[in-house]
């Protein structure tokens, strides 16, 4: 990348090397502009307080007579940890749900343990069979698709849905939020997380394997959980003011929380994927989006973000080397195999069979049903439960 020719957005740290970027006459890019358009609605304080109260009341009503009133997905990261604290503060009785894909860091385990113990929250962990998961990862590497984390994210959705269904709960609270994640990633940097068919097709073509215990979820599963069971994912942190550094300080002070240097570093693979594989093989640096969001939401200065971007996405070269060694060991790869993998070009996800069209149709269905009808259905269903 030739720095001198790269144009940076005047407001955030997105730059002209990113896909589909456009700058307006002020030199401001479409990425942070999208943030401000979308968050205008969410961050209206009066609106936020009202919907927060309504949400909490609805969740409590749904939980009457049940051991829990909602599911809270936890990773050990700041966002979900803080969300869990706030949920308990609101008087909710969440069941914390965690998924272990064999790449958990000690930090993540320690943070989750401290948190659920101090809050007195029950925990459920789904441990994915590592041998099967490794097979799936290997197939994804052989397919040269970008979104390896589709595997984790898809299974995580499935596990949360299953637990909600098990206890008859309608609400799955999660840590994702506008304040620190409000700028969406460029489309070509990820893949739709509900594309079960894509996972199955890649597994079959490259690993000659069928999914055995991996908890996958596709468009039809999503439709079932949403439209038949009325289970919804709630970005809980959007319902109140969320300042990441304040949250972090409190978590450290009250819950013995240990922070990570960068976002999503609770899993060793995620760290290596974002900090090494994505930039090296796919020319993608997700920090540009993460930091731009912090700048747009006023949680970091633009100068600080630009300065951070100059550094490698790892605390030190030694840490990177250690993760590389560990990655090779877990995957049974040699250094040569890694080099070979990195040197090959990307193949788009939809080069393989995909159910993305169905996913989009089903996701849009909700917007096409008039609210009067959908609310009547919800009321009817409630009567018969």
């Amino acid at each position: 990348m030739n720095i001198s020719k790269t144009v940076f957005c005047k407001r955030c740290v997105c730059d002209s090397t990113m896909p589909e970027i456009r700058f307006d006459e002020r030199g401001i890019c479409n990425y942070c502009e999208q943030y401000f358009t979308r968050s205008g609605k969410i961050f209206n304080i009066a609106h936020q307080e009202k919907s927060y109260k309504e949400l909490v009341a609805k969740i409590k009503r749904n939980g009457k007579g049940r051991p829990y009133d909602c599911i809270f997905g936890v990773s050990g990261g700041v966002d979900s940890s803080w969300g869990l604290v706030k949920a308990v503060e609101a008087g909710l009785r969440p069941l914390a749900v965690h998924m272990d894909n064999g790449w958990n860091s000690e930090l993540a385990q320690n943070n989750i343990a401290n948190l659920v113990r101090s809050l007195g929250v029950d925990l459920y962990t789904h441990v994915i069979d590592w041998e099967e998961y490794r097979g799936l990862m290997q197939a994804f590497f052989d397919a040269h698709v970008i979104d390896i984390e589709l595997l984790y994210d898809n299974a995580m959705l499935a596990v949360n849905f299953k637990q909600a269904n098990k206890y008859g709960l309608r609400y799955i609270l999660a840590g994702y939020n506008q304040a620190t994640e409000g700028i969406p990633l460029p489309n070509s940097w990820t893949w739709n997380k509900l594309d079960r068919k894509n996972i199955e097709a890649i597994a079959k073509q490259f690993g000659n394997m069928k999914i055995k215990t991996f908890p996958a979820v596709g468009a039809w599963d999503w439709a079932y959980y949403n439209y038949i069971e009325f289970i919804a994912f709630i970005p809980f942190l959007d319902y109140f003011q969320f300042n990441k550094s304040e949250a972090l300080q409190l978590l450290q002070k009250e819950y013995n929380y240990k922070p990570y240097p960068y976002k999503h570093y609770e899993s060793i693979f995620t760290r290596f994927y974002q900090g090494y594989i994505l930039p090296e093989k796919f020319g993608v640096d997700k920090r540009k989006i993460h930091l731009s969001t912090l700048v747009a939401s006023g949680q970091m200065s633009r100068e600080q973000a630009l300065e951070d971007l100059q550094k490698i996405p790892y605390p030190s070269m030694q840490d990177l080397e250690e993760d590389k060694r560990y990655f090779l060991k877990k995957m049974n790869w040699t250094e040569v195999q890694l080099k070979e993998y990195l040197s090959k070009p990307e193949i788009p996800h939809d080069h393989y069979p995909s159910e993305i069209k169905r996913v989009n149709k089903i996701l849009n269905l909700r917007e096409n049903i008039p609210p009067v009808i959908s609310q009547t259905i919800v009321k009817l269903v409630n009567k018969f439960r």
């Binding site: 272990d100 860091s105 000690e106 320690n110 659920v116 029950d122 441990v127 069979d129 590592w130 060991k329």
Partner: protein
């Protein structure tokens, strides 16, 4: 270094870690390499890995997997399961295992223990004595390879093993395994009073108080599985280990 060692005990089934309840119903708890890495970061001072199906299926230890464990593990590593002869033991020590643990082979032939202790020293040869209480509460020696109770008195077998050269005895209370409902201090006391090599008590630890009770009854070290991998009423898999200061305070 603590006066009394607290040793996580990981059970291996094929390539994955499991945790049993009274030696039955193995529940998958994850990838051993990642678990070892987490215990490294927690600064645990000794780790024990037992392959629970090797002897049952008449297989040798999974050497290539154990090699990976040993190279990942910063702490002294003990291994048990499927060790049948001097050659197996030699391979394990070469791979970097510090202590080996025998049971099935020791039940068959205590001479093997003698030969091993002569060659590598007692300190690296452990014998696991599994004891199960029947419905009347009567303790009996248990053979984990076939799940049967044996007629030989367990205390006698233990004493014979020590005499043959076992440097440590692992006393495993089968009926308490995975229950987290407290350790069988009566067995621990009986064992500790009848021999003078270090006794590692395992089975039933659900709290630090349970471990303290085991030490008070005469155990010189306590090992546990469920306590370090399960959390709360759903037995959610979550690897934890007490802080050094906590353990120091516990045994002071």
């Amino acid at each position: 270094m603590l006066k009394n060692r607290i040793i996580p005990c990981l059970l291996l089934k094929n390539e994955g870690l499991v945790k049993t309840l009274q030696f039955k119903n193995p529940k998958y708890v994850g990838d051993p390499i990642n678990a070892i890495r987490i215990f490294n970061d927690k600064e645990v001072d000794e780790l024990m890995v037992l392959d629970i199906t090797a002897s049952k299926e008449g297989k040798s230890p999974n050497f290539s997997l154990i090699e990976q464990f040993a190279s990942e593990c910063f702490m002294p590593l003990g291994y048990g399961g499927g060790i049948r002869n001097m050659a197996d033991a030699q391979t394990l020590f070469t791979l970097g295992v510090e202590k080996i643990c025998l049971q099935t082979a020791a039940l068959n032939d205590l001479n093997l223990i003698r030969k091993m202790a002569d060659k590598w020293g007692s300190q690296s040869i452990l014998v696991s004595v599994d004891v199960n209480r029947n419905w009347l509460g009567k303790p009996a020696l248990y053979s984990s390879s076939n799940g049967k109770s044996l007629s030989m008195p367990w205390l006698q077998f233990m004493k014979n093993a020590v005499e043959a050269g076992a440097g440590e005895i692992i006393l495993n209370a089968v009926h308490r395994d995975g229950t987290m409902k407290g350790m069988d201090t009566e067995l621990i006391k009986l064992a500790a009073d009848s021999m003078d090599v270090p006794l590692v008590a395992v089975g039933g630890a659900g709290s630090l108080a349970d471990m303290k009770a085991a030490v008070a009854a005469g155990a010189s070290a306590v090992s546990a599985g469920a306590f370090f991998v399960f959390h709360g009423p759903h037995r959610a898999v979550l690897i934890t280990y007490p802080k050094y200061q906590q353990l120091e305070a516990l045994f002071s």
